[in-house]
Symmetry: D3
Subunit: 200 residues, 6 copies
């Protein structure tokens, strides 16, 4: 049995702007990924609305700093074979940082956390796949540069990279989130990448 | 679709003292509960080795304070219909508190967190079911009293209660954890209770 | 006996720019409100220079994050009948956020804290009255929009709203704080609103 | 105008074990002290159920660590002439420390916080009066030693000391809290001490 | 024996942009200062890449907030005669604050921490010397104003001031850090200032 | 140039019970170690009175939790070749844990922090040498067992171990700290161990 953790924000939680409501379980991309990968892999979904890579945002009764929460998840879902991280959209909010370069630094921090995590039972460290979220609607400053930064980072640290913009797009309603079809498509498109990384 | 969060410690993670290793996915009690409840319910497992109800324990690179981590999970898995909390065993460690009365106060805090949690989309608050862990091997001071305290608390605050000692027991190896058969049995025994609480 | 908590920043503390010094006790708006309401109501003043709605500002040896400090005050002054919150001016500092939309999100968080607070003795939750601070001197970006955002928020969540700009204005010296007459006038103007909310 | 901050726990909040409820405003000791001192002094009450001197207790949705909360109060009520600290009873709980020596160390920390607090407007630091709470009912380990430790500490650091046991006693109901008459009596008995310290 | 703490960021750590690597021990400015001052003075170097005056930056597995770390160093190296603080460059990053006025406020906070620090053995408080870092390469917004702000602050609070730009300059490679010769020169130039302040 | 970090508590700071005062610089064990090792090695001393392995102790205006402070030091003194950790005595205080088994768990956490630390410049991780402090005077519960636990731990995780009790002893005055001669002797005795570990 292989275990994959999907660590993300509202795009992973499944925020449906047409409600607002949450997409049905079967439409969220981690569920689609699970269907594609079948019974030999357990896909764990952990998406939080508003989660950033590594920055505080106290506007909710939840800890939105992805770097503070990740270590505990690495333990509670250990042993992990792969961590898929799709974060960065909330870093682009003007009151967080609004700067794709900073999101890249936050992503770099998350990768370091995965690689330095203390596993008392001695499991090997999981692989990492970073996913650039689909580009928010035109006009959002810097959004288009995120994928380039992430690809460069993945090369530098030696982890996997996937650009969601190649397979899905944000909805018209808020220009940030995905409709059901697009979120399912993302899970399906990630499946072959995951299979290669897990050598399935 | 109903969603149930199983919030616990190593007994929920599935610590197998005969390894030490983690029990196979299918043997962990949340998986057994999922099987029993079928497709109309999603069971989310979140068990961390060493997790306490509401106390700090800095001996791991993970946040073991159950009260600090719970709010974020309530958001990332929202909307929830039921939260099953099986914690308290680690509160009984001498260097945490070693006192079932204090574990009860910690459990009371967790229930208050569930009930006061801010849900921006306005979902109704989930029900709570507290589970007293199986009594650790004889000789552990106060362990036997935990179930009584939890039952009293459940009456007082109006939530569900289940005593795991009625259906399973700890293993001989360390007198704390459960073998595969016992952990499966716990999930199966919880199913009818959950069905009643969810009015399935 | 009814109890009202006045939760604010330097405008509530009573910062007198002509000193700098603190306004005399009788000139601060919570004192004026107390005089108007008389003996049947206790008005508690809790104003901190530099306090924000929900953001960290480490430039003082005091915790300026209003969201971190509020829960304890809700307990130490329980049972409360009304919480008046006049915050947001410090959120407008360029190094905090400088954005009235974000101040509104912070205010929303404070209201959620009041409503979700755990009161062990079971007192009913207090009502909330949000007060938009007087508009800072012309030229401050976004300052004029705060009142509109707060009014909209009050409608949305169902709490009271009062726009201080209708009854008082900031002083010439720093364009931020109020002189003694204006701060007294605010307390007097709030009295009838509070009487209605408390059904006095 | 002189300002006095009364910093304490449930004995200052006014916990009435016969309810449980809060004592009427006029019966709490800070109110009695206010009556005795008259209009030239403002007495600020800040009592929180469960507050310790300097230790974490996560069993409530409020920060019970007196050392973490005090700096902000020193600023929000500045300029202060006197800080009266009556804490230590909760330090004696078995799950906090249960040791009067440790409570003394916590009280020492609070005094250091008052003395090292940064006041941006340059007000002189307030005087400190530490009050040993009335001795809890017989049988509580170490409770009787607290007053001795506090007196010794007051001598060492040069602050005021008052032993509440000389003028009031705990009630029969829970052996910890005071009835209305005793709590009033404490405020009255503190008045002459405060007058001397403030040179009124 | 006198003790001097050098509290800084990468300019104190000795970041050599030509590597990137760390400058040799003998080339770092605290070492040069030590050589100049001789055996009667102990110079302690504590420089961290990315350290700010008083702001959080979670992009590293180290606490970069200078205000949170300083109190512990004041104790671990007590008794101190002088604290030299050269910080502010990282405050100028766009995602921290990018504003020299805010860096000044952070520096003011650090000075308040030194002056209010609780020393249990009663050592006198150390003197403070603030050092404006060399101006980053042209085009960096606001960089040139930092020295002016620091000088003004030093006058206001009565501490020492030194402008590094008078004796050294940043390298061409990244326009931020110093080469070996410049960092040595800074330590040599600080020596006479330190001698005066320590009355050597 | 090799760099060695000496991470400890009052025994490393150089607490002289006959004062109380701090031992002269030349008498502290890190200084003695520096003399023995000569110019090719830089010995960095970081000892804090009251420091524990991994537990909070809020009785000072400094962070005594060794696990919270260590990551920053690993960065500010990088690249490190060896970290010598002599902690555990303060864990034995009754109000911390008073249990050598728990001190061992805290030491295990510190070793994990060293090994998982993220070094952005890619330096190899430093070696670790754990030192059991000299046994406190007879009668201290559990003190004698600490060395055995640490030796066992060193074997298990593959790091160096040294028992200070073999070469030095605590003073008569408080039964906890060392006089000048003993602290010097510790540094001298550690030198050959360090030479072997650094392959000098």
């Amino acid at each position: 049995m292989r275990t994959v953790l999907c660590y993300g924000d509202s795009l992973t939680w499944g925020y449906d702007a047409s409600g607002p409501r949450r997409h049905a379980l079967e439409d969220r991309w981690p569920s689609a990924l699970q269907r594609e990968l079948g019974d030999g892999v357990q896909v764990v979904a952990e998406g939080l609305n508003g989660r950033t890579t590594a920055f505080d945002d106290n506007l909710a009764g939840a800890d939105r700093n992805g770097a503070r929460f990740l270590p505990t998840l690495l333990s509670s879902h250990a042993p992990l074979d792969l961590v898929i991280i799709m974060l960065g959209s909330n870093d682009m909010k003007s009151w967080i940082h609004g700067d794709p370069f900073v999101a890249r630094q936050g992503m770099r921090r998350l990768i370091a956390i995965v690689r330095g995590h203390d596993d008392p039972l001695g499991h090997p460290e999981p692989k990492v796949l970073i996913v650039a979220p689909p580009v928010a609607s035109p006009g959002k400053k810097g959004a288009g540069e995120l994928a380039g930064y992430y690809e460069q980072l993945a090369d530098e640290v030696g982890c996997g990279f996937f650009d969601a913009s190649g397979v899905c797009e944000v909805c018209q309603i808020d220009g940030i989130h995905m409709d059901a079809e697009n979120t399912r498509r993302l899970g399906e498109a990630l499946a072959p990448v995951v299979r290669v990384m897990l050598e399935l």
